[in-house]
Symmetry: C2
Subunit: 196 residues, 2 copies
DNA sequence: GTCTATACACCGATAGAC
DNA sequence: GTCTATCGGTGTATAGAC
C-alpha cells in the first residue's frame, strides 16, 4: 500500500502564500493607514488579482482577524521573553515591563491601532485571535501579582499610565522620544504610589 | 436714501441653517461613528438632498473642519468656566482641571475622536478651527504655571496621565466609571511627584 | 488556485433647471 | 438655495472559465 508522504508540499505552499498575503497586508496598512487598507492594494503587492485573495481569506475582516492574532502573538512572544529575564528589584521589573510594551507598541502604528484601538469599526476579533491578547494580559497581571500588586485598581492605573504615554508619543511625536523619556519616571511615580 | 436695515434676516437664516446641518452631522457621527459620517446621512436628517449641503459647506472636510472648531470651542468654554472658580489648594486645582477635561471628553466619543485622535485621515484642521485648541492648551499651561509647574516634562506627564485614563475609560468601559474613579488618585500621585 | 468579468452598493462632487 | 440627474470613482464580493 502507498503511505502518505511525511511532508505535505501542497499544504506548505498554501501556508506560505497565506503568510505572504499577510505580510503584504501589513506593508499596505503601514503605508496607507490601517483603516484604508484595501484588497486591491494587498493583491497588487503579492502580484494577484483581488478576487484571488478569497481563496485564502473568506473576507476582508478575516484578513484583519489574522493580522490581529499575529500582532498579539508577537506581543506575547516579546513580553514572554521580557519576563524570562527580569531584573532583581521590583521597580526594575516594572520598568522593564513598561519599556518592553512601550517600545513594541510605538514600533508600528498600524499594529498598535489594530491591537488597541477600535479604528476598524466593523471588525470584531474571533475567539482564536483574541486568545494571545488575553494570554498577554494574564502574563502582565501575574507578573505584577508577584510584586504584590494584586488590586484591580492598581493594575488599571498602571495600564492607563503606560497607555497614555504610548498614545501621546504616537499622536504628538511619532518617531521621536519625547514621552519615551518620561517612562521610567512615570513608572517610579506609580511604584511609589503603590508602596513599592 | 434707503438705509440698510439693522438686521440681516437673510444672513440670520443662512447661519441658522448652517447650525442645523452641523447639529445633524454630530447626531449622525454619534450614531454611525465619526469615520462613517456621510453627506447623505446628514442631508437626510435635515430634510435636504445631498447636493444642497454644498451651498453651506464647500466639501465634506469643510464640514469636519467646522465640527472640529465647534468641539474645541466648547471645550475652551468649559475649561474657561472651570478656571474662573478654582479651589484654593494646588491639588484641588489639578483635580478640578483634570475632572472637567475628563468628563468633557468622555461625554461624547465622536467629539473626542475628532478632537484628539486622527481617525479621519484626509482631514487637517484649518488655522481658524485650530485656534481654540491652541487657546485651550495655553489656558491649561498657564494655570499649571501659576501652581509652579512650568517644566515641559511635567506638563507632558500630566497630559499623558489624564489622556491615558480617558482613553482607557472610553475603550474598555464606555459609559461606566471604572477609570473615572481613579482620576483623583492619579492626580494626587502626579502632584506628589512634582512636589506639590 | 488564479484568472476575467461583473455585480452591487456605496461615496463625494458637479451641472444645470427652477 | 434647493432640486434632479448624473459623473467618476471606490470598495467588497461572486460566478464561471481555465
Amino acid at each position: 500500500m502507498l503511505g502518505k508522504p511525511n511532508r505535505d508540499r501542497v499544504a506548505e505552499r498554501r501556508s506560505a502564500t497565506r503568510s505572504e498575503i499577510l505580510a503584504a497586508a501589513w506593508d499596505a496598512a503601514r503605508e496607507c493607514g490601517l483603516a484604508n487598507l484595501t484588497l486591491r492594494e494587498v493583491a497588487d503587492r503579492v502580484g494577484m488579482r483581488p478576487p484571488s485573495l478569497y481563496s485564502h481569506f473568506d473576507s476582508k475582516n478575516a484578513l484583519y482577524d489574522a493580522m490581529f492574532g499575529q500582532a498579539w502573538s508577537e506581543c506575547l512572544a516579546v513580553m514572554t521573553e521580557c519576563v524570562r529575564n527580569l531584573p532583581d528589584t521590583p521597580r526594575g521589573v516594572l520598568r522593564s515591563l513598561a519599556a518592553t510594551f512601550f517600545d513594541f507598541c510605538v514600533e508600528d502604528l498600524a499594529r498598535f491601532q489594530l491591537m488597541n484601538q477600535r479604528i476598524v469599526i466593523d471588525f470584531e476579533p474571533s475567539a482564536d485571535s483574541y486568545a494571545p491578547a488575553v494570554e498577554t494580559l494574564d502574563l502582565f497581571r501575574n507578573t505584577l501579582a508577584e510584586l504584590g500588586i494584586r488590586d484591580q485598581q492598581d493594575v488599571d492605573l498602571c495600564v492607563a499610565l503606560t497607555g497614555g504615554l504610548i498614545d501621546a508619543q504616537l499622536a504628538n511625536d511619532p518617531g521621536g522620544d519625547r514621552w519615551r523619556r518620561l517612562l521610567d519616571r512615570a513608572v517610579d511615580m506609580f511604584a511609589e504610589n503603590v508602596g513599592l
